[in-house]
Symmetry: C2
Subunit: 426 residues, 2 copies
């Protein structure tokens, strides 16, 4: 399900139609996030079909898109949830998610752990200190452990989710200290968790699963192995999406082999965020200006949105398909190379950077635009509304709309007001 | 006023003392921004002393730190304001700023221009389309023009605030179209504005001022020249701060020369943001975990803050001094190299990147830390509270406190609640 380009080499809309995009803007204003229930369901079903030997739990990494309506829909499909902070765990419960379906694996252990535990939220310790604190607060209880197996998918010396340059999880060489803490606090380690951002290569998945199962041998009470998320999803036209059947098959085989060797039937957990939501969201906004820096320069489309709604291009040089929707007035067709920029007074507010290079200008071929045209930014369902430079230049948080499977559009978050932005001042 | 290092090579607190930082956390919680009124005054005075021949207006680029208390204090010192969106203009008026002191120069012309004009907000057109729209709405009125003189301070092909790779302002080769629009709408161009981020070199300032004055010759009604902001301010220990007296002297000389040649006494405007506020702010937070990835790996300090409060290191590889404040319990002194990371489940949430390289790990020498220590991040007065990945991982917006000149601490923004984060959902 990659982003497609049409015959003229221009990227196409994914789940909206031009008429629908225009309708969304007319009804809900601009900019507005739209989420497609059908895509959410399809992606959830793909994850729920991940190959497994002895059971599977799919947890939505809710930081990707924490709107209550999204959480509620995923819960109705049988998904569980990964909360990355105590706030998120509480947020999910307020949305109606059963506490037993929420697993908290966080960089910052919250103050209200006793309340979260009392209500039934699961906990995965991500550091020795967390393990010790949990043990002192809840001796004799069950928990999971997030381990850093010493391997990451990125370059050394760079930020990464695994390996020596990553702060996530307990370093694999500290197992002796782990066992001491577990014993001293009479804890039961029922889950072993790793997450290294495994990408699209089945061989890498196999290697990671093997390593994780090796670690799991050290924890005889572990019933579940969580391999994290980080499945690749193609937002740009030239990117690849992880084939879950392909990467999952060798993983399943390893679980079967583990059972043969140990008699232990391990349940598999995965925690996708982007894979579940990225392609299910689009930002509908407007071309509000077009400026030129001369024949040797560039033509810029200026949107009424930007890093305030979609920060990923500015932060990581991420690629999002951008589609100009022609207006109702007929005009000459054609295409043109544009730089697309956001509405902030910030040179880094660029929607068309070079891949992985946030500050490098990469003009993109788009349908010829006019001021006032609707513009759709695809791949905006994950880490966009949830991770943006919200309120920069005092722009209010955009509205969110759900495109239901019955075709109805439902407002699931109202646009923020200026009063709300400043409500805690004074 | 650079960030200083003490004898042991460790960066020092700027305006807080260890006791004060501990007091701030005890009274207002963690994390919390603290702004120093004395530094705000000193920086404002430095800007108001910028060399000028025929008058000076200093506008605070309010996007840098839009809290009402900061705006009110700056107004009391005689500063005016640069609003980068219609929302900001309204926000400043709500804070009590006189509309006549607000100049709107925006990438996105707001819907409520008629109301803003009626109240007295000034307007600077930043594109041909804005100029035309303004002319149609307000024929015969006064306005400013932001021009792109074709020169930027950065590399070509990269994001920049001036030159062919920048979308800010009207391209200098479009002056004929500008004059047509001005004539057709009988407009009066009373201000010419450029902003190219001029840095610390007096020669560059001189060149920019010369170019801008050359453009000003084309607008005989112009009374004011605005040279923008972008003055460098040293946040890290190895950075340089622009010496306003040095860069301003040749600028003043050019204004004098311009008057001799044309008889026109031009008023100067400057629009600092970071220069006024960056060093006046600090984020007081906590070391909430310390993790290691072994002898060949790194030691990580995990804060209860991060890209949710200070996005600049993740976005631009910006350098902020970080000071660990020893706790009350006596312990062995010493120092150690740490990577400092934020509390988000995001590999890019790194507070100690290499300069200009957000994803490159750069361990930093700090006082030896213990879990629970107060940690202060300096240089957090500009583009931190105003430009952050707010609410990512559902962390609430931090509180803001003003350290008054009389020594009192005043809460100027309460910490956000989870209810407020989700108040527009459903």
């Amino acid at each position: 399900m990659p982003t497609t380009k049409n015959n003229s080499g221009i990227e196409s809309l994914r789940f909206l139609t031009p008429a629908r995009a225009i309708e969304v803007r007319a009804r809900f204003g601009s900019p507005v996030y739209v989420y497609d229930q059908e895509t959410l369901r399809r992606q959830a079903e793909a994850c729920l079909a991940f190959p497994h030997a002895f059971g599977l739990t799919v947890r939505f990494a809710m930081k990707a898109c924490p709107n209550a309506a999204i959480l509620q829909f995923f819960e109705s499909l049988g998904l569980h949830f990964d909360a990355s902070s105590g706030w998120e765990a509480t947020r999910a419960m307020r949305a109606g998610v059963a506490p037993q379906k929420i697993s908290l694996a966080t960089q910052e252990m919250p103050e209200n752990m006793p309340e979260l535990r009392r209500r039934g939220v699961l906990f995965t310790a991500c550091s020795l200190n967390q393990l010790d604190r949990f043990g002192r607060q809840f001796p004799g209880e069950k928990l999971g452990l997030r381990l850093n197996p010493g391997l990451g998918s990125g370059h050394s010396g760079k930020t990464n989710v695994g390996g020596p340059g990553a702060s996530f999880g307990i370093w694999h060489e500290s197992l002796e200290e782990v066992q001491d803490l577990v014993m001293n606090h009479r804890l039961h380690v029922v889950k072993v968790h790793t997450h290294i951002g495994s990408g699209t290569d089945p061989a890498v998945w196999q290697h990671v699963a093997k390593m994780t199962l090796q670690l799991t041998r050290e924890f005889p009470e572990a019933e579940t192995v969580n391999l994290g998320g980080g499945f690749k999803v193609a937002r740009g036209a030239d990117e690849k999406t992880t084939d879950l059947q392909k990467v999952g098959a060798p993983v399943k085989a390893l679980f079967v082999q583990f059972e043969r060797e140990t008699g232990r039937k391990l349940k598999l957990e995965i925690e996708p965020g982007a894979f579940l939501a990225a392609q299910a969201g689009a930002l509908v906004c407007s071309v509000q200006d077009i400026v030129s820096t001369g024949k040797k320069g560039h033509e810029f489309l200026k949107l009424d949105a930007g890093m305030t709604e979609i920060l990923r291009p500015s932060l990581y040089g991420s690629q999002h398909a951008i589609i100009v929707v022609p207006g109702p007035i007929s005009r000459s067709a054609g295409k043109k190379k544009y730089l697309v920029v956001g509405h902030c007074c910030e040179s880094g507010d660029l929607l068309t950077p070079a891949p992985g290079q946030p500050e490098t200008l990469a003009p993109r071929l788009l349908a010829r635009a006019e001021i006032g045209d609707v513009c759709v930014i695809e791949g905006a369902g994950a880490y966009c509304s949830g991770m943006s430079a919200k309120n920069y230049n005092s722009f209010p948080e955009a509205a969110e709309v759900l495109l239901r499977e019955d075709g109805a559009l439902r407002l699931i978050r109202r646009r923020q007001s200026l009063e709300q932005i400043t409500q805690n001042e004074g």
